[in-house]
């Protein structure tokens, strides 16, 4: 009998993994969270950012009352994209932006006409970054608008626009110095989706077994706790990697996000983070043994912090010190830092090694804890 027990590890593990996979595939709600939700998130975050931006409320500060200046802004007032409001001074305009009446300020200095005739005029544009997804397009529209105006002016004068006087838009985005964009969001999305699949789904499925009493029967067999955990982790690891693949494909195909760093390093780092997320999920479910509690805690303790405190949306440098401490305790923070660098900047080895080591340590500690906490005991 004891020889059968020795060889039983692989048989039991294989059998448990097959069971988990079957359950995963048959339970539509798991698939919805594992695959449906990532797709929805990609579309919301991806297209939510690049949706058409209209009705831009723009404060106009015209210190130059010359005909040229009037002509410059008339293009804007007629555009369907803008709702211009004139302001008497920059002080007034800033006040309007602070209270949210306008989203941007266009400032023509008193010597605009003179600058233009000298061949190079500067127009100041200040855009509020509070609604980050609108800031980028606003700047783009105005640039287009300026280029159009120049084109028309050159046409009328009958000269080559490239040789004529140039208007330069000097733009600044206030209240959010890291201008969020699709490129910036897609790597962050990967973190969110892996947290969701790793922590939320795993916490749920393990807690479900506790709740339905299926573990009670399972425990009184030759099965070992390690085998139960490994079998839980394996299929959800697969689902997490599928989520990663979905995000990468969407990033490349739909949003043209570059992958400047090495793909193998990116995959390796993602696996490490997925193990961390799975470890948290297993810990939560072992501690609560209740699906409802497990899902609440998984959302509050992993998904929301990963969304808000990891630097996914808000820049960490702007956070108060106390919250920064929490942020830097989150594994998601390191993964976001690492994956953004890999996507957008390239292979920066000191950072890769540092973050991988941190994530690896988290994975080892959390999974070991999950193993220690999962005992074949009911009391």
């Amino acid at each position: 009998m004891s020889s059968a027990r020795q060889g039983g590890f692989w048989l039991r593990l294989f059998s448990l993994i097959r069971k988990e996979t079957r359950q995963l595939l048959r339970d539509k709600s798991n698939l919805m969270i594992g695959i449906g939700l990532p797709i929805v998130l990609i579309l919301i975050f991806g297209y939510g950012v690049s949706l058409d931006v209209r009705n831009i409320r723009l404060a106009l500060v015209l210190d130059d009352h010359s005909p040229v200046g009037q002509d410059f802004v008339s293009g804007l007032t007629l555009s369907r994209y803008f709702e211009p409001l004139s302001a008497d001074s920059m002080v007034d305009a800033e006040q309007m932006m602070k209270v949210g009446t306008v989203e941007g300020i266009l400032h023509l200095s008193s010597d605009f006409a003179r600058q233009l005739s000298a061949g190079h005029a500067q127009v100041q544009l200040i855009v509020s970054g509070t609604e980050a997804p609108r800031a980028g397009p606003i700047v783009n529209y105005l640039n287009t608008q300026v280029a159009l105006w120049q084109q028309k002016r050159a046409d009328r004068a009958g000269i080559d626009p490239s040789s004529g006087a140039r208007v330069e838009l000097v733009e600044r985005i206030w209240f959010n110095d890291a201008n969020t964009s699709t490129w910036f969001l897609v790597p962050g999305l990967i973190v969110l989706i892996m947290t969701l699949v790793g922590t939320f789904l795993t916490a749920l499925v393990m807690a479900r077994e506790w709740e339905r009493g299926t573990l009670e029967a399972l425990f009184v067999t030759p099965v070992r706790p390690t085998e139960v955990l490994l079998a839980k982790v394996t299929p959800y690891f697969g689902v997490g990697m599928l989520g990663l693949a979905l995000c990468m494909i969407a990033g490349r195909v739909l949003f043209d996000v570059p992958i400047n760093g090495s793909l193998p390093v990116l995959l390796f780092a993602s696996m490490l983070y997925l193990l961390v997320a799975l470890g948290i999920g297993l810990l939560i479910s072992s501690a609560t043994k209740n699906q409802f509690l497990a899902s609440q805690i998984a959302i509050l303790a992993s998904f929301l912090p990963a969304l808000m405190l990891s630097g996914f949306v808000f820049d960490l440098r702007n956070l108060p010190i106390g919250i920064q401490v929490i942020s830097y305790a989150l594994p998601a923070t390191y993964f976001i830092e690492l994956i953004r660098t890999l996507f957008l900047a390239g292979n920066f080895w000191p950072l890769i090694i540092k973050d991988c080591l941190i994530l690896g340590a988290y994975a080892v500690v959390l999974l070991s804890l999950a193993r220690v906490v999962t005992r074949k005991r009911l009391d």
Binding site: E209, E216, V220, T221
Partner: protein, 595 residues
């Protein structure tokens, strides 16, 4: 490997649990000593909360005793649970079948986990599937099996190999008599063929009497142990049946007997007679005022009789004060008036017919029992009567109205006690009663007076400020009854109110019910305990949505003709099984679940 002499050996095993919310510790097992030999079929008997499940979990290595020593198969299970778990099989009360996996996949999983060689599987599966009658359903997801079939599959999963010790925790709880009998046939067959050692916990004493040895647990203590015959002997010479005199129903005689705990240990209606157990050394003359000329006959004791003697000795009298319930004649109207009328009632869910063209009447003051196997349509019928579910077609009137469409005022005329006792666990007893009273439109002095009354009637007085979630099971049931009756309804609906209750609590429950019926309240009740049908004036047996039989318990019993008159009076359970099986065999190709 040398085989140990004892399957389980417990020395002063103690286990207590701390309630996380109240911080109180409760003893689940108090210094229990056990010696269960190998190769025997042993029963752990006791009401809910006796410690049966805790004891089995300790033996399975899922918990550790706080004190004492526990050896399973000669191994100290607290120190070395894994070697024990490698050799035993354990079926918990709610067996953890994976509901999205098919019957075959569940079996395969357990066979893999137990390392059953592929060569042995074919024969083992064939045998298990044959015994459990599941061979037709191997591809069906376990979640789509009926309750009884799930239980059989759970048993099959624990038996994918022949274990050195089999632990079964209430394998028949919530299972209808038919499935119950089939499960026991499987267990007994395996015990004989493979000389298995089995320890089974149960609340049914007839199941315990099939075992070699019985251990009686009560509130964590071992009350008695021995062979079923030995336990029966405690009631030797004290068991009688009495035929009620003219103009008296068995229920009335039974009520009178059980109201005298100084003379009578136990009395139950049985087949038109009353079966009773007297206290030791009670003379026939002393009984005469109670029997009022009813003919008596001495009968051999059964395990339940011995068990009742034990419990009474331990707990003293527990007969409730029912005078005020009987006096409570709140209902105006002629006594034989039809208060529930059902004609050709049908309920379908998609293409599944849960209730097929059913008709019956219930008269004022009747106790009407709905009986049937799992999935027979009892609960669906019940819900339609209470107005919780619309009927697909047919005519339905309760207290002159259809409750589905009736105004709230009409609904006040019924009371409903659901299976799970819908009480608010974090409200106190008083707050619950006040809430339910208010919900039925009682207020002010009238509500206060009713609360005092029901607290007295249901023996809740000492517990007014206790949160209902912290009450023991028996109290919860009484509180649920009190809440259902606070507005003095004409008709009371009870959905399996006695499941999980110990025999003493059940006697007290039925004493109150019979008192209510005396007072004119109409009672509709479903139950899994077939012997409780004897308390009913009339019963209806349903299976697969169809009405199979209806009438007084005696009339229904007579439908099943016994070829052998020497067999005597059929028990209600045998009657039930006879009727259901007859109907199933009659309709060709019919199966327990609908395809």
């Amino acid at each position: 490997m040398n085989r140990p002499e004892l399957a389980i050996e417990a020395r002063t095993v103690h286990k207590s649990f701390r309630d996380k919310q109240t911080g109180k510790t409760e003893d689940a097992l108090k210094s229990v000593d056990l010696q269960i030999p190998m190769g025997s079929l042993t029963a752990l008997v006791g009401p809910d909360g006796a410690g049966k499940t805790t004891l089995l979990r300790l033996c399975a290595g899922l918990m550790r005793p706080d004190q004492g020593e526990l050896k399973v198969l000669g191994i100290d299970v607290a120190q070395h649970p894994q070697p024990v778990q490698d050799r035993i099989s354990y079926m918990p009360q709610r067996f953890g079948l994976y509901e999205d996996l098919s019957v075959q996949e569940n079996l395969d999983l357990y066979a893999d986990l137990h390392g059953v060689p592929a060569a042995d599987r074919i024969e083992r599966y064939r045998r298990l599937l044959h015994m459990t009658d599941l061979a037709r359903f191997t591809e069906r997801p376990a979640g789509k099996l009926s309750g009884g079939m799930k239980q059989k599959l759970g048993l099959a999963c624990t038996l994918v190999r022949s274990p050195d010790l089999l632990l079964l925790d209430e394998p028949t709880v919530g299972v209808d008599p038919l499935s119950r009998r089939e499960l026991w046939q499987i267990i007994q067959q395996l015990v004989e063929e493979e000389s298995l050692s089995v320890v089974v916990s149960t609340a049914y004493l007839d199941e315990a009497s099939r075992c070699d040895e019985v251990y009686v647990l009560h509130e964590g203590e071992l009350l008695a142990q021995g062979t079923p015959d030995l336990l029966c002997e405690r009631a030797l010479g004290c068991c009688f049946t009495a035929v009620p005199g003219k103009g008296e129903s068995p229920r009335q005689l039974q009520s009178r007997l059980i109201d005298h705990p100084d003379l009578i240990v136990d009395a139950v209606p049985h087949g038109g007679e009353v079966r009773f157990v007297t206290q030791a050394n009670v003379t026939q003359e002393a009984l005469e005022p109670l029997l009022r000329g009813a003919r008596t006959q001495a009968v051999p004791p059964q395990l339940e009789d011995g068990f009742m003697v034990l419990l009474r000795k331990r707990l003293g009298a527990a007969s409730p004060d029912v005078d005020s319930l009987e006096r409570q004649r709140s209902i105006a109207g002629p006594p034989d008036e039809v208060v529930i009328e059902v004609r050709d009632l049908v309920r379908t869910f998609g293409d599944f017919t849960a209730v097929a063209s059913t008709s019956f009447d219930v008269r004022r003051g009747e106790i009407f029992g709905l009986l049937g196997p799992n999935g027979a349509g009892k609960t669906t019928t019940f819900r339609m009567l209470c107005g919780l579910l619309p009927s697909s077609s047919g005519f339905l009137q309760v207290a002159g109205v259809n409750l589905r469409t009736a105004r709230a005022s009409a609904r006040r005329r019924i009371g409903y006690v659901s299976q799970k006792f819908s009480l608010y666990g974090n409200l106190t007893v008083l707050e619950n009663l006040r809430f339910f009273g208010g919900a039925y439109g009682l207020h002010g002095k009238r509500l206060s007076a009713r609360i005092v009354q029901v607290m007295e009637q249901f023996d809740l007085s000492g517990q007014a400020r206790t949160r209902s979630g912290e009450l023991p099971g028996g109290f919860k049931q009484r509180l649920a009854m009190a809440a259902g009756l606070i507005h003095e309804p004409e008709i009371l609906f009870l959905d399996e109110p006695t499941s999980g209750a110990d025999p003493l609590a059940r006697r007290a429950f039925w004493r109150r019910i019979t008192a209510l019926a005396e007072g004119g309240t109409t009672i509709i009740i479903t139950t899994h305990f077939m012997e409780e049908a004897e308390y009913c004036d009339r019963i209806m047996i349903q299976d697969a949505g169809k009405r199979l039989a209806m009438g007084t318990p005696q009339q229904v019993r007579e439908l099943v003709s016994t070829a052998d008159p020497a067999q005597g009076r059929l028990s209600m359970e045998d009657t039930f099984i006879g009727i259901v099986e007859h109907s199933r065999n009659g309709s060709a190709g019919h199966s327990e679940v609908n395809p």
